[in-house]
Symmetry: C2
Subunit: 218 residues, 2 copies
DNA sequence: AATTATATTTAGACAAGACTAAAAATTTAT
DNA sequence: ATAAATTTTTAGTCTTGTCTAAATATAATT
């Protein structure tokens, strides 16, 4: 098994690969983990020896299949714990990240298997991000930014782009939570704000908000 | 906050103090943690600097009030997690220890508070050991070894002395679990075995078994 | 293409935690 | 009370993961 530190590096590389495809630079990893590039170089050599990544000097890194599966498993644990915290322990969705960051490193296959079952085999975490299955595969659902919907279109809120505390708390205040049906009643050309309806309530939201909310079109 | 290692030492000292009162030797700690006495000396100096224990060279250690409270808090977390694993995730009571050993180090006061509430504020873990409250106090219940009961006395099974896997699995097989009412029907002078009744079932158990089961007399 | 700027790696140092082997203190036994 | 046995500590080494500063490679600019 791997150390906490190794797991954190793996996870960072995994997330970066979802954004940039291949050849993740040591600098990018350093920035993500708030550490120094020299520390990354050290660790990257170790992960490479363990066959988790491909690393050639000055050319960045790429996860191997083994590395990808290992990283996905950590993300799986992270997101299952987030579901647990929100659904069972009444955490709000902006409080879960730091705790899940710790819980994801607990080693016990049975624990995760039972937790998964206890939670009813969820496919998405409280932020709408997909939970990898045991093989590391993600169930991708067709998602659109709320800002791309046209007048009179509607969809179900399935996730956020920006998951900062402030944003999540704002959504909570407005009663916008995962699973809620949102209908666009008006689009204001002037400032791109939207008038939306959610659970019989009508109010308007800014372009910025609408560009950070993922919707599954109905 | 403290490192995993520091917490493990604290917990070991805490448990040793329940058995021996004061002046825990470095050797005793080393044996408990399966490490070397020299490593213990190093760590003990550190814990002493942090005011968690009193340490005088060659004279063993004693927990300070602060150390005691800190250690009790780790034990509290360990036992709450054990309850969670058994009650919610269907672990059997011989499988929980290693996982709880990891979970006890998760840092989040809210997590423990909510977990406690989610579990219905349990006072004892699945082995019958008391769960310290937030202040580190234990609720002590009057417990007797099953082997000390007289003929026709009965009591509720509240814990075990030996918590080895083999023993716990044996108990499971016989249907002896926490909360069950046990009545002593016969005591055999020859080998000190007992004929007991539990949930309408009658069978005999050896002296060894009876000396490892705690009972709350009715 | 040469020079400057940026990114990456190397070399050497440090802290935490553990270990071995040797020294010192304490305890036990004669 | 002294010698022998045991316990505890010290000194020095190792590994993991991090860092700074210096060196080297790559990329960008003119």
């Amino acid at each position: 098994m791997f150390t906490f530190s190794e797991e954190n590096y793996l996870k960072a590389i995994y997330h970066l690969e979802r954004d940039f495809i291949k050849g993740i630079s040591t600098n990018a990893i350093a920035k993500k983990l708030e550490t120094k590039a020299s520390s990354v170089t050290d660790m990257v050599k170790k992960l490479s020896e363990k066959k988790l990544i491909i690393y050639k000097k000055y050319q960045g890194v790429t996860l191997t299949d083994f590395g990808k599966k290992t990283a996905a498993n950590i993300v799986r644990k992270h997101r299952l714990w987030e579901v647990f915290l929100v659904e069972k322990l009444n955490f709000s969705w902006d409080e879960v990240h730091d705790v899940a960051e710790q819980l994801e490193h607990i080693k016990s296959p049975k624990l995760i298997q039972q937790l998964d079952s206890f939670l009813g085999f969820p496919t998405h975490d409280p932020h709408g991000d997909p939970i990898p299955d045991k093989e590391g595969n993600l169930k991708i659902i067709e998602k659109s930014l709320l800002s791309t919907l046209l007048k009179n279109e509607s969809g179900i809120c399935i996730g956020v782009n920006d998951s900062s505390s402030e944003f999540l708390q704002f959504l909570d205040k407005k009663g916008i939570t995962l699973g809620k049906l949102i209908t666009v009643l008006e689009k204001e050309d002037f400032d791109d704000s939207l008038l939306i309806k959610i659970a019989q309530q009508k109010f308007s939201i800014s372009k910025k908000i609408a560009s950070n909310l993922y919707i599954q079109k109905q």
